[in-house]
């Protein structure tokens, strides 16, 4: 009996030893074999990164911009042996996917390219440390002011008002409130703000422009704006505009509606200006009382638990144009309506972004008012869905 008991004890202890070895074999979500400082304090050259990246897995890039596919093609040519997989998603879906990855410990994302205009990106991915900035010093010296603030901007764009140049030789409106007039009913196309971060940013930023909107109303209609209790100039503006608006799923639909001649006006991301190069008929509104759009930007960040961190850093360097700005990775983003974040790269825009009447969304305001704004738009869209054709 004693021998049996001793044997059993021995077997039990052996099993415990075996399982204790297994316990540490899987990395925990949020940790990595390499630390990611908030900025690259230990700078590695592209050659060093490339050497290390060759022994890593496929690089997975989550992106909201389809132009990343062109950067991928160029990257794979520049760095043979490295493979990139692009996952092309909308911003809300991208954020959910990154959160899900981390929650499940999947490590299925190395690099994230996402609009940072709605507050969600900052609130749900940056602040909790799911994504971290990577900006090596040899590229940082060329970045414009304001492009690094806990997030690394790689694109400056705008959510902008456009008009149909086939129908109007020049923009027929000089005041934003004119868009609420009845003869534009069904003629203004815009993405659903609950589905488009950039549109959401504009819609919310307008709520911070009470004074400017009130004055513009007076200028447009010749009478003071009477705001009922519980409302604001912005809520009145959007409620009135929604009666004229056709909501779409994306900026692409807005650009197509303008080009097809069914829209007189469209609100969409400025990067759709690049479609004019292939003949699309859409003209941006530069000057409008009190504003014609809002500034938006896109960030490129490292996933904090990237499985291929060296390939990821190399890809980010490549995307940002490398140290001399001549890298091919930035070329797909040097298109009309996309303004460079670097002071040494010509983005090909004939009109600087500063020449547009743009407002600036406040990230904290976007985060603080999120519930209220979602409720406002949810109610408005449900109301309008009963009347849209």
């Amino acid at each position: 009996m004693e021998r049996i008991s001793a044997k059993l004890t021995g077997v039990f202890l052996t099993v415990c030893l075996l399982f204790s070895g297994c316990g540490t074999s899987l990395p925990q979500s949020g940790q990595n074999s390499q630390p990611f400082p908030e900025t690259a304090e230990t700078w590695e050259s592209p050659e060093e990164l490339y050497r290390k990246a060759l022994s890593e897995d496929i690089l997975i890039v989550y992106t909201v911009t389809s132009r990343a596919a062109l950067t991928k093609d160029a990257f794979e040519k520049e760095y043979p042996g490295l493979d990139v997989e692009i996952r092309d998603l909308r911003s809300p879906n991208l954020i959910e996917a990154v959160e899900e990855n981390h929650k499940k410990g999947l490590r299925d994302c190395d690099v994230v390219l996402c609009t940072d205009s709605s507050g969600d990106f900052l609130d749900r991915l940056v602040k909790p440390g799911l994504v971290v900035p990577y900006l090596p010093p040899d590229i940082r010296v060329h970045m414009k002011e304001g492009t690094e603030n806990g997030m690394v901007s790689f694109l400056n764009e705008a959510e902008l008002l456009f008009y149909n140049p086939e129908k109007y030789k020049t923009c027929p409106v000089s005041n934003l409130w004119e868009l609420t007039k009845e003869h534009y009913r069904g003629k203004i196309y815009m993405p659903n703000p609950l589905r488009s971060f950039s549109t959401y940013a504009l819609c919310t930023a307008v709520f911070e422009q009470e004074k400017a909107l009130t004055e513009a109303y007076q200028s447009c209609f010749g009478t003071p704006l009477s705001v009922p209790s519980g409302e604001s100039a912005a809520s009145m503006f959007w409620t009135m505009l929604s009666k004229n608006a056709i909501f779409t799923n994306s900026s692409d639909e807005v650009a197509e509606a303008l080009n097809d001649g069914i829209a007189d006006f469209g609100i969409c991301v400025s990067s759709k200006l690049r479609f004019r190069e292939i003949g699309y008929k859409m003209e941006p509104v530069q000057k409008l009382l009190p504003f014609c759009g809002c500034r938006t930007s896109y960030s490129v960040m490292l996933s904090s638990d990237a499985l291929s961190p060296n390939a990821a850093k190399l890809f980010i360097r490549f995307l940002l144009g490398e140290a001399d700005g001549k890298g091919e990775g930035i070329r797909p983003f040097c298109t009309p309506g996309t303004w460079s974040v670097r002071d040494d790269v010509d983005d090909g825009n004939t009109i600087p972004r500063e020449d547009f009447d743009l407002i600036e969304p406040d990230q904290n305001y976007l985060i603080e008012t999120k519930e209220e704004m979602e409720r406002f738009w949810s109610d408005l869209l449900k109301q309008e869905s009963g009347t849209q054709t």
């Binding site: 639909e253 097809d260 738009w377 054709t389």
Partner: protein
């Protein structure tokens, strides 16, 4: 005492026999075609859902390497125990094909509808052919989307001559297609810039022109002549079949400048988002007389399933198939698992066809390897309000969304009237053959003699 024991025993047996029939539901033997897009029919979410809803057990046997008619002939000349045969996803039979089997009682005809139709996921009122052009090549060569047939020729010439895929080889296929189906034929597309060219209705006009076969007109001849010009100049490249064409379009080398299809996913694999991103839809170009036409796509509901005449479980089989035709089942068959792959909209979403949406898709699983539904195999009838009321799932490479946007652009070129002439299969076949011959030069479009012979052959059909 013995009587009491006997009574209890009988009662027990009766109870157990009731239980055993609940524990052993009728087993339906269902034959369905193998599909790469259905990972495991036995554990498939939709099949399990049907089992639960009907209380029936379903055993699936997979059909491989044969077509619908051959399979049925083999089945009926064997004693294989099959109750239901499901069709779809390329494994098909027509209602006409089934008539001889029905007459012999080999297929059950006692139900309301012996065909258990599959109306598919095509949206009614869509155009049957869209031009998809390589936007990357347009950008590289600083060209605009063609608006006229002459613009189109200019663009195609540039594609041929200026090496837009930058590999130093003259391997570009400016406008690739096949005569295998109308949707894939560049000739049909170009002819629409000359006449209202509706191949599904034998090229008859409609409304006031309903009795005019537009394939007999000078405009039609001019259209064919233009096609021949493009063919001779190697701007129009024709391949044997859709499969070959799809391989060229999906080549990582980027070989094709333009192609036509009803849906972009007919040609570009869903798992190829980079290739999908290269192509953009284009409105029909205006011909020399300024005409821009689109024609309606035409999808007859397909046979979704039949019940085998010798089945001893016809009632159960009818229950199973009728369940597949319910709205709830059809939504699963079309979109997958509610709550995971899709959900009903809360009223704040926009349909990809404009207007409010009824369905929000989260995972687009159609034509991808998955195990949530049977990817179009078997009967289904998704109500039109849901077919046209789907919102975008946010993925840029979602073919359904790409298609919907193309359809919205082309809608205004569709005829308002739907007063179509009845199609004439013989006439259609004569015209189709002539289009092929004139475009490829087998018959000479410039020869009045050959053209008149063609007109004579049409007359014989009228």
């Amino acid at each position: 005492m013995k009587k009491q024991i006997l009574l209890i025993g009988i009662l027990l047996i009766l109870c157990l026999s009731g239980c055993s029939s609940r524990q052993n539901p009728a087993v339906l033997h269902i034959a369905m075609p193998f599909s790469d897009m259905v990972q495991d029919p036995d554990t498939n979410y939709y099949v399990n859902w049907l089992r639960e809803q009907t209380g029936l057990s379903a055993e699936i046997s997979l059909i491989r390497g044969t077509d619908g008619m051959d399979y049925l002939n083999e089945l009926f000349s064997s004693d294989a125990d099959i109750d239901i045969v499901l069709f779809g996803n390329g494994f098909s039979v027509s209602r006409k094909d089934l008539e001889p089997f029905m007459e012999k009682g080999l297929i059950d005809v006692s139900g309301e509808d012996p065909f258990y139709l599959n109306t598919g996921t095509s949206v009614p009122g869509n155009t049957g052919q869209i031009l998809w052009i390589n936007m990357e090549w347009l950008s590289k060569l600083q060209l605009s989307i063609p608006e006229t047939t002459q613009d189109l020729k200019t663009v195609l010439t540039a594609f041929r001559d200026r090496d837009p895929n930058e590999n130093g080889l003259a391997d570009e296929l400016p406008f690739a297609g096949t005569f295998e189906a109308y949707a894939f034929s560049p000739a049909e597309f170009i002819l629409s810039s000359y006449v209202y060219n509706d191949p599904y209705h034998s090229r008859y006009g409609f409304g006031a022109e309903k009795e005019n076969c537009l394939a007999a007109t000078e405009e039609f001849r001019k259209g064919l002549s233009f096609c021949r010009e493009l063919f001779d100049e190697r701007l129009l490249i024709l391949r044997g079949d859709k499969r070959e064409l799809a391989e060229l379009i999906n080549s990582p080398v980027c070989l094709v400048g333009a192609f036509t299809a009803e849906s972009i996913s007919d040609m570009i694999y869903q798992g190829n988002p980079e290739i999908l991103a290269k192509y953009i839809h284009v409105s029909p170009p205006a011909g020399p007389e300024g005409k821009q036409n689109a024609w309606y796509s035409f999808h007859e509901p397909e046979v979704g399933a039949v019940i085998v005449g010798r089945s001893t479980k016809k009632e159960e089989a009818r229950l199973f198939l009728k369940t597949m035709l319910t709205k709830e089942a059809s939504l699963i068959a079309g979109y997958g698992q509610q709550g995971t792959d899709w959900d009903f909209s809360d009223g704040t979403d926009v349909s990809i066809y404009g207007g409010p949406s009824g369905i929000v898709t989260r995972n687009y699983i159609w034509n991808t390897p998955q195990n949530k539904h049977l990817n179009g195999i078997g009967p289904m009838q998704i109500p039109e309000e849901y077919l046209t009321g789907v919102t975008w799932n946010g993925i840029n490479s979602d073919a359904e969304y790409i298609d919907a946007r193309a359809q919205m652009t082309c809608r205004k070129y569709l005829p308002e009237s739907r007063d179509f002439h009845e199609p004439d299969p013989l006439l259609s076949s004569v015209i189709d053959e002539a289009v092929k011959d004139f475009v490829t030069g087998k018959r000479e479009i410039g020869s009045d003699e050959e053209w008149n012979e063609y007109l004579q052959s049409l007359q014989e059909c009228f």
